[in-house]
């Protein structure tokens, strides 16, 4: 029994020790597993978890970037910034939204309609999206909110960056305007998406939109360490953002403002171009709107008014409006015919009041006709019959070639505006493709006086005039100041361009033809019987040359022709568009311009007088402008 007991005791000890050994081995294996896991997490994947840990604890507060300014040619700020006091809230971060809003309502005396709107916004978006409770607090209101802030958990008073356009309507179509970034803006522009903070305003059209990426600037980023409940524990660092680039444009505010005054709310357009640098000196479309209205979101009533206004204030007529050029096309028709050797200036046509062409009557604007006309007189007096005949001889395709060369039928400022229209310069091929019909010769005739299919924007005519005025050289329209210090350089390059690759290529074969056309335009303005004779300036400093245009907007019936109504007897929408293209000073031209008054009647009575006033202003501003151009020391 005892021996048995000892034996079993030894067996028991052995058993326990054996099992303990197995257990210890198992333990070692598990501990090794833990060590491996630690190694994996802490050494292998350390980077990943460090990043995650930083993501946990670091919160970034992005402040809105400071937008670059727009300056005019003389460095005047034409689109600047202003501080806007806003009130933001993220519903998710608020314990009791209703209580908060009630408190804010009391403090700011919000009306119940506004409160309703806030709830509506809240219900329409995700709880983590920011609601802008108010975007135009006064400084007093803003201070008041800050004073009570301890009592308003979750409310964020924000100083945001707003846009200010000191010249109100003057630049609306050029600069466009800014407004809150929409989902579409965020989706289409990565930079906006990257820099976005609630309440960020971005360019919606015009140059504000085109140069968005340069203007926007970078955010100032404050980094905070937060705890698990999102409470800020301490500020880690501030990464200062950069203000966006400021952009200087080639427009002269004085002239721009003056164009606004001249158009005086009439539907129309004025554009002025430097005929050597291609700089846009003024570009106005009327009526305009106040871009400052968009700062706090334009009200739906105001928006509706703008949208439904028959004068179309939201359309930039200078580049997006398409019109028949009327008689302003005649210099190009004449030039084309001369260049192609179709006619000689001495060709004579007898203008009764109309010509018959295959049984169809084509009228001259002048009742009883001009009598015997040569080319020079036909331009000067704008004889339609002469140009019917010229166009018939020339043919639409040859005209198309010349007109295109001079800038018609294509966008002028394609790098700057995305809403510019190309217009139409017809050709037989174009008609076949666009309409699917053969060209009729009768259509060539009316194209010769700028009616029918042909459609141009006012700016295209300005470019055309500029390229005629500079002696027939290609220029490059721009709205950014040209960096040629000396205009003589450009002139030299133009005249000595034997180099085929020269920037300023000649658009004509024979300079005499250009000279002839320019001379005819001079006579049109400065000689008796010229269509714009009444708008001439005799002082050679200001003396200019031009061509009127009166574009029909509808076919005139024989009865209407007999009626010969006064302008005010015709319904507004049926009145002719008044055109005037001009360049000056005549002796040494520098500027080209186009005036369009929609439904203004005849070019000579509605458009040319405007050009006269404008020329005075442009020339008066010239020295100052040249001073800026040539002076190296002026810092803009």
């Amino acid at each position: 029994m005892l021996g048995d007991g000892i034996g079993s005791n030894i067996r028991k000890s052995k058993l326990i020790n054996r099992r303990m050994f197995i257990a210890s081995t198992a333990k070692a294996i598990v501990f090794f597993g833990i060590v491996s896991r630690l190694f994996y997490l802490q050494v292998e994947q350390n980077k990943k978890y460090l990043t995650l840990s930083d993501k946990n604890r670091i919160r970034e507060n992005k402040l809105p970037p400071i937008r670059g300014e727009f300056k005019d040619y003389f460095g005047k700020i034409i689109a600047g910034n202003l501080d806007v006091y806003e009130l933001h809230v993220i519903p998710e971060q608020v314990e009791d939204f209703r209580v908060l809003i009630t408190r804010v309502k009391q403090i700011l005396n919000l009306n119940s309609k506004k409160v309703e709107k806030i709830y509506k916004i809240k219900n329409n978006q995700k709880p983590w999206e920011t609601i802008i409770i108010s975007d135009n607090l006064t400084w007093e209101e803003f201070s008041k909110i800050n004073y009570y802030l301890y009592d308003l958990p979750g409310l964020k008073p924000i100083i945001s960056v707003g846009r200010n356009y000191p010249y109100n309507e003057s630049y609306s179509h050029v600069l466009g305007y800014v407004a809150y970034a929409s989902q579409k803006d965020l989706a289409s522009n990565e930079i906006i998406n990257d820099r976005h903070v609630p309440g960020l305003r971005v360019g919606k059209n015009g140059l504000e939109k085109t140069f968005e990426n340069e203007l926007i600037g970078t955010n100032t980023i404050q980094r905070f360490e937060v705890n698990a409940y999102g409470k800020r524990i301490n500020q880690l660092e501030v990464q200062d953002g950069n203000k966006g680039n400021s952009l200087r444009i080639s427009i002269d505010t004085e002239i721009q403002n003056y164009t606004n005054e001249l158009l005086n709310g009439e539907a129309g357009s004025i554009s002025v171009m430097d005929i050597y640098t291609g700089e846009i000196v003024a570009m106005n479309s009327s009526p305009s709107f106040n871009p400052n209205d968009f700062l706090y979101g334009i009200g739906s009533n105001k928006w509706k008014d703008l949208n439904q206004n028959p004068f179309k204030p939201l359309i930039n007529k200078t580049i997006s409006g398409l019109y028949s050029p009327g008689s302003t096309i005649k210099p190009i028709v004449a030039l084309s015919a001369l260049e192609h050797g179709i006619i000689k200036p001495s060709m004579t046509v007898r203008c009764t009041d109309s010509i018959d062409f295959y049984g169809q009557k084509f009228h001259c604007w002048k009742k009883k006709g001009h009598g015997y006309m040569n080319l020079r007189n036909a331009i000067k007096q704008s004889c339609d019959v002469y140009f019917y005949e010229t166009a018939r001889l020339l043919g639409v395709d040859r005209l198309n070639e010349t007109a295109r060369k001079f800038g018609l039928g294509d966008v002028v400022l394609k790098d700057f505006f995305d809403n510019e229209k190309k217009g139409v310069v017809p050709s037989t091929k174009w008609k076949k493709e666009a309409i699917g019909q053969n060209w009729y010769l009768g259509e060539t005739l009316i194209t010769g006086i700028g009616q029918g299919y042909i459609q141009t924007t006012p700016l295209q005519l300005t470019l055309m005039t500029a390229q005629l005025a500079n002696g027939g050289y290609k220029i490059y329209p721009t709205i950014i100041p040209d960096n040629n210090k000396n205009i003589q350089n450009i002139k030299n390059q133009m005249e000595n361009n034997t180099d085929y690759n020269s920037k300023y290529t000649s658009l004509v074969k024979n300079k005499e033809n250009i000279k002839f056309v320019l001379d005819a335009m001079f006579r049109s303005t400065n000689e008796i019987q010229g269509t714009s004779y009444r708008s001439r300036i005799e002082d050679p400093k200001y003396q200019f040359a031009g061509k009127t245009g009166t574009a029909q907007v509808k076919r005139i019936t024989e009865e209407e022709r007999e009626l010969d109504r006064e302008l005010n007897q015709i319904p507004y929408k049926e009145r002719d568009h008044a055109w005037y293209i001009a360049f000056g000073p005549y002796k040494n031209p520098r500027y080209a311009l186009t005036v369009l008054v929609e439904h203004g009647g005849s070019g000579s009575s509605a458009a040319a007088p405007i050009a006269k006033k404008l020329f005075k202003k442009i020339i008066d501003r010239h020295d100052e402008r040249e001073n800026i151009r040539t002076n190296d020391t002026v810092n803009l």
């Binding site: 257990a23 333990k27 630690l38 802490q42 050494v43 840990s53 705890n227």
Partner: protein
């Protein structure tokens, strides 16, 4: 040479000399580390409630451990059944009349301490089974008669703790008990059968689980399923450990802990915080310290001349191993979050008390290693 056959009359000096100082200093070191870790968790709170309490408890219970280590092991042998029954009574009391915290009824308010009897049960079960198997011969272990008592002794507290509900502690009680039963020589096939039985009853058990426990299992399988909800703890814990790197962020510089991203940082996730601040190197050293403590306990067990001491030491060594590995595997995202403290490191009086009682008995087994219990 002193004659050890006259048991019980070794001098106090001899007793002190036979203390396992390696073990003793390891415990002091671990206690020190735990107080520092607790101090780090307190930084963000701005008061030192946890670290002070933890230090006081460690001090008191350490003295208790020293006191217990001088009591002859044969008294523990004699008192083991009473100890088990007393703890079982407290457990019943806590389970049915205890304080409910976070949906689990597991505390009993003894005015000076909020006692969690299930923690003490982890030790009581080892004491009881060590005593039970002390006399059972290896041949008899596998008989039904000798199996039924340990089974009941084990299953009753498990079910009680499970119903509190406290999955983590009940698992640890089960593992501790099974460890001793296995050491006693139970045929491995019984354990395999029981395990198979468990697997078969798994769907049934799942259906009995509380929703939050189900969620935890699902979350364990895929923590990213609900990163802000139940998966949050695992993700944050892994981030803390992983971001610690090789040498850690430095003492008091662990951002995950300081900024309250770590859940339960005082208790179950204390290792995560430690690991974030002291990195891979620190974690390995801590693990080595634990392994060393286990090793010393095993040495004491193997030198013990009575089976009670042997069973207890071995059983307790395996249990500590389970506590450590379940806790670490849990916070490292390799086991579901079940709620189990890291011995001595975690904040919590009951866990510390049970550890110190057990260590006291281990030290007693060392001092009275030549004691033979009949």
């Amino acid at each position: 040479m002193k004659n050890y056959s006259s048991f019980g009359d070794i001098s106090f000096f001899q007793k002190v000399r036979s203390i396992d100082f390696y073990l003793l200093f390891s415990i002091i070191l671990l206690g020190g580390i735990s107080i520092l870790a607790m101090y780090s968790t307190d930084i963000s709170d701005g008061n030192f409630y946890h670290s002070i309490n933890h230090a006081i408890r460690f001090g008191i219970f350490f003295c208790l451990m020293i006191f217990l280590s001088f009591i002859n092991i044969k008294y523990y042998f004699s008192l083991s059944i009473i100890f088990y029954i007393a703890i079982l009574m407290l457990l019943i009391g806590a389970t049915f009349f205890g304080t409910t915290v976070q949906g689990s009824q597991r505390w009993i308010n003894l005015y000076f301490i909020n006692l969690q009897p299930s923690e003490l049960m982890k030790i009581a079960i080892i004491i009881f089974l060590a005593r039970y198997y002390h006399r059972v011969q290896p041949d008899a272990v596998n008989t039904i008669k000798k199996f039924i008592i340990p089974f009941i002794i084990l299953i009753v507290p498990i079910l009680l703790v499970l119903s509190q509900p406290d999955l983590g502690t009940s698992v640890l009680i089960a593992l501790s008990g099974i460890a001793v039963i296995w050491l006693a020589g139970i045929n491995i096939k019984y354990i395999v059968y029981s395990f198979l039985g468990l697997v078969i009853s798994f769907p049934f058990v799942i259906s009995m689980l509380k929703p939050y426990q189900k969620l935890r299992i699902l979350t364990f399988i895929n923590p990213d399923r609900d990163p802000l909800g139940a998966g949050y703890q695992i993700i944050q814990s892994k981030i803390a450990v992983g971001s610690g790197g090789l040498t850690g962020k430095g003492f008091l510089k662990g951002t995950q802990g300081y900024l309250d991203f770590l859940p339960e940082k005082h208790t179950d996730f204390i290792f995560t915080l430690f690991s974030e601040e002291f990195g891979f190197v620190g974690s390995i050293l801590l693990l080595i310290l634990y392994a060393f403590i286990i090793f010393r306990i095993l040495i004491i067990g193997s030198n013990s001349r009575n089976y009670f001491g042997k069973f207890f030491c071995y059983g307790f060594a395996i249990s500590i191993f389970f506590y450590i590995s379940v806790n670490m595997l849990m916070v490292l995202g390799m086991l579901p979050i079940v709620g189990s403290p890291l011995p001595i490191m975690s904040y919590g009086g009951s866990s510390m008390l049970s550890m110190m009682i057990a260590l006291g008995i281990v030290m007693s087994a060392r001092i009275y290693s030549r004691e033979i219990i009949n």
